[in-house]
């Protein structure tokens, strides 16, 4: 008692700053204790959740496997399968359980194909899970809509086409991407119809994803690319140029030549790359005439094209660019010159005073 009084008096006699420090320390000590208690509670709660999740996961895995092996050849859905479907129908009403079941089914449908994959899709419809995914499409949050579309893509719900096509123009990039992936994954090349009216930009990543999906299909009969090559949306034109190259659509050559005058530099560069791939020689004259007004990227691409297609007719043009300021062009010009006319190449070698040219010539001759 005396001690407590002594400490109280001692405390009140302390300078104000020390008192404040003591008070803050006290408050912090209490806060830390409360936080420790909260973290302990949170940890046990999460562990409990994890246990429940594992329990349901195991149960649903077994139910799903039993369902897959319970089919008979007589009925589309056997009696045993119907029992399991009814059992799971009750479970899917609960959001937590539904999420677990979806994750179990997703894991499996990604890794198996054939009859069993079809059975899983049937299970997805019969348990009513499809309705929850369709309901997600009406959500307010973009991530809910995107996850709904992703799920419908994964379980190949073609019936949602009319609903999902609306999201191709959604203001959110993720939603748009998922909608585009849905269309292409389920409707293959026909799904690319969204490109007709696409006004938003198709990112490089989205283009790669679409091309990857398209290449998985056996049916490689591609639709008319011409309208997309003439699209006002530059990203659609760039994507179409990739399609032209991958699927060897050389019959659109006339449009490719028009694209060499496109207002967008990247498109012009991509077009030269495609023409290079086709080893087109007729574009050379046009590219030569506009060479001096072209960007450096276009000039480099043109020289790459010349490395494959150059002949003696190009000699004068090549010679003009042996002294180009750009190193890549200079190197390409000398390489081409050596390939098409060794005599002139040797003349350049002897007459040049440009040290860089001397070094390049040495390099070319050594390789």
């Amino acid at each position: 008692m005396i001690d407590l009084q002594y400490y109280t008096e001692y405390f009140w006699e302390l300078p104000i700053l020390i008192k404040v420090v003591w008070l803050i320390s006290g408050v912090l000590f209490v806060v830390i204790l409360a936080l420790i208690a909260y973290l302990k509670f949170l940890r046990s709660h999460l562990r409990e959740n994890e246990k429940t999740l594992k329990k349901y996961q195991k149960e649903y895995e077994e139910n799903l496997i039993n369902y897959l092996y319970a089919g008979d050849n007589e009925n589309e859905i056997s009696e045993a399968q119907r029992v399991l479907i009814n059992k799971m129908k009750i479970c899917v009403a609960d959001k937590f359980k539904r999420k677990i079941l979806i994750s179990v089914m997703s894991k499996l449908i990604n890794d198996i194909s054939g009859e069993m994959a079809h059975s899983i899709q049937k299970f997805y419809f019969e348990t009513g899970l499809v309705n929850y995914a369709l309901y997600k499409l009406k959500g307010r949050k973009w991530d809910v809509i995107a996850s709904g579309i992703k799920e419908l893509t994964q379980f190949e719900v073609k019936e949602a086409h009319n609903e999902i096509i609306k999201y191709v123009k959604h203001p959110n990039l993720e939603v748009r991407n998922e909608a585009q992936l849905y269309l292409v994954s389920l409707f293959q090349f026909k799904g690319l119809v969204f490109l007709d009216k696409l006004k938003t930009s198709l990112s490089e990543w989205a283009q790669i994803q679409l091309l990857e999906i398209l290449q998985k299909f056996d049916n490689q009969e591609i639709p008319n690319i011409r309208p997309w090559l003439q699209s006002k949306n530059n990203s659609v034109v760039q994507f179409s140029l990739k399609l032209v190259k991958i699927y060897n659509q050389f019959d659109v050559r006339d449009i490719l030549l028009e694209l060499l005058s496109h207002e967008n530099k990247e498109i012009r560069v991509d077009t030269i790359q495609v023409l290079n791939y086709f080893q087109d020689t007729e574009c050379k004259h046009f590219l030569k005439t506009k060479f001096n007004t072209s960007s450096e990227e276009e000039q480099i691409e043109f020289f790459r094209l010349l490395e494959i297609t150059a002949d003696t007719d190009d000699e004068v043009f090549i010679l003009e660019n042996v002294a180009h300021t750009n190193f890549k062009i200079k190197l390409a010009a000398l390489k081409i010159l050596k390939a098409i006319n060794l005599e002139i190449f040797n003349e350049v070698k002897l007459e040049t005073t440009d040290l860089q040219v001397v070094e390049i010539v040495k390099f070319i001759e050594a390789n």
């Binding site: 799903l64 496997i65 092996y69 894991k107 890794d111 198996i112 194909s113 054939g114 069993m116």
Partner: protein, 123 residues
């Protein structure tokens, strides 16, 4: 003592493991499941299986390391089938170089897997 042929299945997708276990047990094989490469090696060393089914990408020890361990350290010549996802073509080539006998790209049909297992175990 069981006369069933033993198969070690190394796969981190528990649902797929269970599905394949059911299917292969129906065909009369004894299946030992490993959820990662480390467990797979333990099972192989303890049970000397007749065949190994292994995913390439697994936690702790990859499918490639499992093949290397079986062929180089344990000197076992049992058939090995590897599973690979799309885009793992280089890994598949490495698996063949290390001594894998066959591969199946995901997604695959369990029925096709059974045919391949039967074929490899019939030699």
């Amino acid at each position: 003592m069981s006369s069933k042929k033993k198969i070690v299945l190394a796969e981190d997708n528990s649902t797929l493991s269970l599905l394949l276990k059911f299917r292969l047990e129906k065909e009369g094989y004894e299946i030992l499941i490993a959820e990662d490469g480390k467990k797979a090696i333990e099972l192989i060393e303890a049970h000397s299986p007749h065949l190994i089914l292994s995913d390439i990408m697994m936690p702790y020890i990859s499918g490639l390391e499992v093949i290397s361990h079986v062929r180089n350290k344990l000197k076992m010549q049992i058939p090995i089938i590897v599973f690979s996802a799309a885009g793992q073509e280089e890994m598949v080539l490495k698996a063949f170089n290390l001594g894998a006998n066959d591969f199946m790209g995901k997604p695959f049909s369990p029925n096709e897997l059974v045919i391949r297992v039967k074929r490899l175990l019939s030699f």
